[in-house]
Symmetry: C2
Subunit: 313 residues, 2 copies
Amino acid sequence: MRLKDLGERALLRKLAPLGYPLDAPLPPGDDAGGVWLGEEALFLKVDGFRYRDVALRGMGPFEVGFRGVAATASDLLCKMGRPLGFALGLFLPPEAEEELALGLVRGAAEAAGRLGAFLLGGDTNAGEEAALVVAGFAEAKRPLPRQALPGDLLYLAGDRWGRLGAAIFAHYQGVGLEAFPAIREAAHYPLPRLGLLALEGLLRGSLDSSDGLAETLWQLAELGVRVELEALPLYPDVVALAGSEERALAFVLYGGEEFEAVLVVPPERGEAVEARAREAGLPLFRAGRVVEGEGVYLQGVPVPRKGYDHFRP
Amino acid sequence: MRLKDLGERALLRKLAPLGYPLDAPLPPGDDAGGVWLGEEALFLKVDGFRYRDVALRGMGPFEVGFRGVAATASDLLCKMGRPLGFALGLFLPPEAEEELALGLVRGAAEAAGRLGAFLLGGDTNAGEEAALVVAGFAEAKRPLPRQALPGDLLYLAGDRWGRLGAAIFAHYQGVGLEAFPAIREAAHYPLPRLGLLALEGLLRGSLDSSDGLAETLWQLAELGVRVELEALPLYPDVVALAGSEERALAFVLYGGEEFEAVLVVPPERGEAVEARAREAGLPLFRAGRVVEGEGVYLQGVPVPRKGYDHFRP
């Protein structure tokens, strides 16, 4: 079957178990893979993208390199992995200026440094268009898989919800982000949250949200639960840029690329999680809960499943 | 400056120090990068390539995936890193059949498994042509940098020397490898040597040879020594396929892609290294020595520096 007919998620389901260890700290298909090394888990994660697919208006090589490390780090952090280092696999047109390569690597180094980690080299290749794979590895004392039990609370960590969707919308509308500094910052420098590590030991599970919140919640529901959203974060700047609450809501549900985390919390630990997040400076939004059943609902209304598929754009 | 004018090695020299840790187990620009985790070093390495650039006649997705893990593992092993796991960043045309992706990942899993390691997932993206980045990580108790002192002995580990050059030549000549099983095996399944780890503690330094032996020896000479080759391995099948000893020698010096290691050994440890390699089943060829001075010589004759540059093919 052709990849565009099979679809990316069906392909990944087939690929994930191949060669994966039986006693791994996280199951195959989770946000990152890993092995045990003594009593610690080590995670390895790669994330790849084409330059032209992610470079929004106003973003240069520095921002694209920064975004690359952010994307990989987000998957590591939401599994309670402390990032140690990153490496870059670059495809670059031979006609390109060296500033393209230098900018990508400087931006990647900046993001790594802000996460307390390093750039550990990379590899360059000729390519017809610029593309990038960022590999990252992390250590974790208590690896956190995707899991949920009926009754658990649902939190959204971070404050970029809807802001990336808004930035992508503005890009295609030809609108600059000068009047929307928080949206611009979220789009250009989406640094994942080291503060997530402060919640170690308190969470039931977590998922990276990069494929879009709705798709992420549907993946959560596939664990065998029903997701009941009571509210979603609607920031005033996102509503202002969207022009309506309805469109702003679509940005939150379907924007993607936030590099934030969806957290699943046992109900008796909700207060402790909120307190710990406050101390760590981690924004937290209580979005609803997980119950018995199936599907994803917002105030009782079904949330359609729509997510980005690289093979069916 | 354009990348094709700057050249790949000059670019990598500029990129390597960016974001690299000061107290790392290996210096920037070595075959792999790494960090200390307690008393152990952890290495991270990526290697990327386009499918069409490496798929020789008779190689399918399985062999290309296998080769990808082999390339990354070779860099880890020659630094005395025991591979733990690998992850794949795939760019695939949406029109491609799923067998392409499945074959690549199955081949990668096979190579990882033969090295006692695992596949820890990956990422898929649309691309105009199939391309692959393989990330790998490894643990090392005694990281081995590129280093050499005048008087040291020079060994070539493994038995693929010249065989990849021969396979590439056969590919472009339209010659099949049915009559050359060892060359075919070296080209299709170039598994790096776990046996290198048996030499831990005995070596002065080592380098991965994937850019071609001559280029690798020139990089060794750049450490501030002169490389004096007394002999090179000329296997009968390589000479037979080449049609002359002269061309066979060119395959050995300029073929590249062997995923074998060049070892630098203090003279008093030569016998111990040879004995340990014999026990571990690691083929070893004593090629010469390192002395004061500069440049690379074969029986007194200068060896020209020619190596593959991705931006100047």
